[in-house]
């Protein structure tokens, strides 16, 4: 029996502006360690909303979220920030790198915040992650000197730096061309298979989804298959 690292229990979510709409309707699912799972569905079915609730960034919901067996209900903002820092790595559709810092520093930022290792050790680890993603040569460049695909790989390295429990992706290939999408998918696949990294990726790209271990399909705020 493999370990449940992420679990949603009867999650409901409403948008109140301009009129009250139910976006998530009694959503329950769980994710085991080492799984590579994708959430698919049409635009507006609530898949991104679910991801942000699972990521602890959105706290306005009913139901319960458990990360690593611990309930996220009633936790303070600072505690949730620490959990995101330590246990969750993010990859978004847009790379969100800070242009003020070098690629290396961008990757190191979450780890510097966590402060688990001394800075030189962190630098070594950041190089390690960049090497896995094949962009160590760009480490000292500024993000705006990189191509779109390279930026997204830096974002993945940043997500990996604290050895998170799970990597969450919101349309990580949405902004990339076919070739770069392929590269990113291969990286995810490798992370899952070689490093046993758990991944939860929201995508509307059915081809991408079909190659993952498990597909959670959503429609109108409900999970219709998983």
């Amino acid at each position: 029996m493999s370990q449940k690292i992420l679990e949603a229990r009867h999650v409901n979510k409403y948008f109140h502006d301009p009129i009250t709409v139910q976006v998530l309707n009694d959503v329950s699912f769980s994710l085991n360690k080492g799984e590579f799972v994708s959430i698919t569905g049409k635009s507006g079915c609530g898949k991104s909303t679910l991801l942000y609730i699972m990521s602890t960034m959105d706290t306005d919901y009913q139901g319960e979220i458990l990360i690593d067996g611990i309930s996220m209900s009633g936790k303070q903002e600072a505690d949730l920030a620490l959990i995101r820092n330590e246990k969750i790595g993010f990859v978004f559709q847009f790379h969100y790198l800070l242009n003020e810092f070098s690629v290396l520093k961008n990757v190191m930022l979450p780890a510097l915040k966590l402060g688990k290792y001394p800075e030189d050790e962190l630098e070594h680890r950041a190089y390690e992650k960049l090497r896995i993603l094949g962009i160590e040569a760009e480490a000292l460049k500024k993000p705006n000197q990189l191509s779109g695909g390279q930026k997204q790989r830096v974002a993945i390295a940043r997500a990996l730096i604290n050895d998170p429990l799970i990597i969450m992706g919101d349309e990580p290939t949405g902004n990339l061309d076919k070739k770069n999408s392929e590269i990113v998918f291969d990286i995810f696949k490798e992370l899952a298979e070689v490093y046993l990294q758990s991944l939860l990726i929201v995508t509307h790209d059915n081809e991408f989804a079909s190659r993952t271990n498990r597909i959670i399909e959503m429609e109108d705020g409900r999970i219709i298959s998983h």
């Binding site: 969100y96 915040k113 604290n162």
Partner: protein, 419 residues
Amino acid sequence: MNFKLIFSIARSLMLARWRQTMVAAFGVTFGIAMFVSLLSFMSGLNDLLDGLILNRTPHIRLYNEIQPTADQPIDMSDTHKSYHNFVKSVKPKQERPEIYNNMAIMNFLKSDNRVLGIAPKITTQVFYNVGVIDLTGAVNGIDVEAENSLFNFQDYVVEGDYIDLKNTPNSIMLGKGLAGKMLASIGDVIQLTTSRGERTQLKVVGIFQSGLQDADNTQSYASIITTQKLLGESVNYITDIQIKLKDITMAPQIAREYGKLFDVDAVDIQTANSQFETGSSVRSIISYAVGITLLIVAGFGIYNILNMMIYEKMDSIAILKATGFSGKDVNRIFTSIALSIGILGGLLGLILGFSLSLIIDQIPFNTASLPTIKTYPINYNPRFYMIGICFSLLTTYLAGYLPSRKASRVDPVIIIRGK
């Protein structure tokens, strides 16, 4: 807390927008520089104007006022206690204006450790004889050395040397206006008549200019011994004892004490010159108000720039929060940006303010009433610099408070989904 990380992020954000940061810092610099130089200048001017009177006024003056006795004999009579008296036209009794037993009083004062120094004095009315005209005026008999050490007598001597007053027998130092009227210069011998009708000839050894026109037109100085001779009095004759205290604020209290103890009239400087205190404090308030206004304007500059920076860096704030920075961390980043601007701008402001003060200190300022002043006065009190830097930190903190709070409340979901 990982302050090193917070500072390094703050620094990078500032460097990325260094032009705006510099503009904000210059706002503070300008405010602080004006604040410091304005206060130094105002305070220098205050000291100068106060010094006009306060420096040469004793903190406490002991003298005998000529006035009728408060307790008239009729009041002391037991038989007439319940009667109402109609005695009118009571006159002061014939009494010399000297302070009795003044040697003992002076010895006592010298041993009182609250007293910085004392200077005995004789004031007497005289007529200066200029041909057929008599000019009314007054001669101040002074202990030349004590007067100089306590009241900077030599600062007001514009011609001659103050010590000649002591070293030359039968010498006098005339006010500038008076000397002009008498056409007297150093070395001349003038004649004056005392209130008792005796004529004396005195040699002019110097001319003083106090800056107070009234005094310069009527007064003159002579040594105590010369004045005693002039009046035909003994060497014990003294009409005033001037006291300078270590702490000027104690003057009213000590004046009351001495008045009772020596049975003389004692007046303190605060009572005698209360209008100067008022003038100084009003000028200080105006300078503080102007300085603080400048800093508040600079504060708005910082507020604007931080707000702009936060709108520009919304994405960065969102990703920092998504990757585990709490609202508090983000708040600290922007607060440290604000404070850095405050410290940098403030320190530059202190330097600029000091330079401005140095420049003002070099501007010529010649006025007939102030013979010792050649340039504009500046008070280099470190207190103004302390207040300046504290204010700059306070205003920048307050200016950064709202924008930092706004940044800390950025909801990463809204920003990230908005793309």
